[in-house]
């Protein structure tokens, strides 16, 4: 009952503090909206290419490239003729064009020679150059009657989800993990406030146990996390997540990230004395977890050993890493619960360990009889 009383009290405090409530509920939604609109372009998008044709044979190649389409019928290239090379170079620098294709007469009987120019730091150029090179080679072979001894067929593993995939969905797992990990500073903040205002002393005197107190704080944060996850999931669906394939794994993995974040917040709460320390240290822990779990970009984590057939790296000590992997598997590749069972189990076990470490440290550093008053 004490646990429920603590949870109710914490929720009342949260609901009466719009800034704190906003940090947890509005901030992730703001990220979601920004990223959602910014990356709403399809993952396989039409690439803008300028073509400088210096040989009649080039017109055929340009026509061939214009007819190329993705499986859903969208053209791969938007090809425009470059009449002035200086203007074309400027377009490359401004990234209004992905690549400049220069088609010249070929040497030694070949009908065509081609040059591809562009900025290697621009992702669209890399995509365009790769496709142009392979397709022009294929075109030349056809023109020359050459049939390669080996035929390469590409079959993407996420082909089934290609139609609905956008860049946003690619970034969605990391965004989700980051948003939920904002619970770390918030949980720490609740503890920091109890320490700053010395209300923790009242609780110590009452004989409430660490498990009851932290459990209550945890339950209040789980309620907040549930609201947060529902909002974020609704946003993900609005921006292209297929709920029939991935919703349940997403909800489960998100919940586990939330539990681990609350545990981490409790641990942070053992090392702070006030609100600002809670926010600073909590945010640092959040960002470290976000980066270490590979939520923003892949992190090199050589396998240290294998467990149940899975390679375990240094960052697998974090529940967020497993949850991130589970989210990627389910959102990007439509993995079901059975396929991500190991990751969910590992995230659950590690989250529980985080929570227990937090409870133990809090008892030892703050709540015990001989702790500094």
């Amino acid at each position: 009952m004490k646990l429920i009383s603590v949870a109710r009290k914490s929720l009342i405090e949260l609901l009466r503090e719009p800034m704190l409530l906003g940090m947890v509920l509005i901030t992730p939604l703001a990220f979601l909206l920004l990223d959602g609109f910014a990356y709403q372009t399809p993952h396989l998008r039409t690439l803008s290419v300028l073509a400088a044709v210096n040989t009649p044979a080039g017109n055929g190649a340009v026509g061939y490239l214009r007819r190329l389409t993705y499986p859903d019928g969208r053209p791969i290239f938007k090809l425009e003729t470059a009449t002035n090379l200086d203007t074309a170079e400027a377009a490359l620098r401004e990234r209004t064009a992905a690549a400049l294709l220069i088609l010249d007469p070929g040497a030694a009987g070949a009908p065509l020679a081609y040059t591809i120019r562009g900025d290697p730091l621009f992702l669209d150029y890399l995509d365009a150059a790769s496709i142009l090179d392979s397709r022009l080679t294929e075109y030349q072979n056809d023109q020359n009657g050459i049939h390669p001894p080996v035929r390469v067929v590409e079959h993407p593993i996420a082909a089934a989800t290609f139609r609905t995939r956008t860049d946003f969905i690619v970034y969605a797992p990391g965004l989700l993990v980051f948003a939920i990990l904002l619970l770390v500073p918030q949980t720490a903040l609740l503890l920091g406030r109890e320490i700053r205002t010395r209300t923790i002393r009242r609780l110590r005197l009452s004989g409430v146990s660490s498990v009851e107190f932290l459990g209550g704080i945890g339950v209040s944060q789980v309620v907040m996390a549930a609201v947060q996850i529902v909002l974020i999931s609704a946003g993900l669906i609005a921006f292209g997540l297929d709920p029939s394939r991935a919703l349940l794994p997403v909800l489960l993995a998100s919940f586990l990230v939330a539990v681990s974040a609350i545990g981490a917040g409790l641990i942070v709460g053992c090392f702070i004395q006030n609100d600002s320390q809670a926010v600073n240290l909590g945010s640092t822990v959040t960002m470290l977890q976000v980066f270490a779990s590979g939520s923003f970009f892949p992190v090199p984590a050589p396998a240290l050993f294998r467990l149940f057939g899975h390679e375990i790296g240094w960052n697998d000590i974090l529940p967020a890493t497993h949850a991130m992997t589970a989210l990627q598997q389910s959102i990007l590749y439509g993995a079901n619960l059975g396929q991500i069972g190991f990751r969910l189990g590992a995230a659950a076990a590690l989250s529980l360990i985080f929570f227990l470490i937090g409870a133990f440290l809090f008892q030892w550093k703050v709540m015990r009889y001989s702790a500094a008053a």
Partner: protein
Amino acid sequence: MNETVLQTIHLTKRFGNVTAVKDLSLEIRAGEIFGFLGPNGAGKTTSINLICGLMAPDSGEVRIDGKPVRDDGGITRRVGVCPQEIVLWERLTCFEQLEFVGEMYGVSAKESRRRADLLLEEMNLEEKRNAQARTLSGGLQRRLNLIMALVHDPEIVILDEPEAGLDPQSRVRVRQYIQSLARRKTVILTTHNMDEADRVADRIAIIDHGELLRTGTPAELKRTIGEGDVVEIRLAGDASQLETALAAVKGIDPQAEARLEGDLLSVRMLNAVSRLPELMDRIGRAGARATEMRIRENTLEDVFLQLTGRRLRE
């Protein structure tokens, strides 16, 4: 009234090289109001923290009803503590605070709510029942701070400087309330206000530099420094004239005690009023002149001055 409810036995607490509480041994009786009197930094709050179990002593122990206070027996739940600083949940209402603390002490939700309303009424806070703590004035926050110690109906109530920072109206209300607790509960209060201690406490422990100097009822303590009234005379004259006046006054009565602090001459003696003419005559013959005079009874301030050589406010 004579039953010992709380004992401190050779209680010592150090912080680095500073001994905050030194070998403190006390017996506090059921139903009495026991005051810790001492200047700021005397070790009163540390003593309170040790007594209520917020802090572990380096040596010695605290016993409540003969059982040692530790965090494993729930004994401290029989104690209610009002800390010196205001300790409230800023965004909970007065009622919610009391209800929550009651529940934390294991009181049922229904009983917590009943006691919350009762205490709010007793402390004239019923109109602020649904106001968040952060919206209350300092005086009202202090009143709420006080009744937070009582919501679980403890047998022993510890009040750390309960009148500190109170406006006159709230001070009167709080003092009345503390006195109303007498006999129903054992009350331990700390104060550096001798007037508060004198008016409210049944017995007083005078503490300084972490050390217990003397214990007794206010009357007993005042008697320890002698019978009679105190005459305070502000003098005009040069230093040698003031010293001569001091020596002359001391010669009036072998039982008289005289002290000169700056230009203030304090004389304690029996029948002070009837001997005033002689006193003034001796001062005049010493070449000094009285510019201001008052006669008062012994106070606890005098006791503290006698014991430590300095005033409580210093």
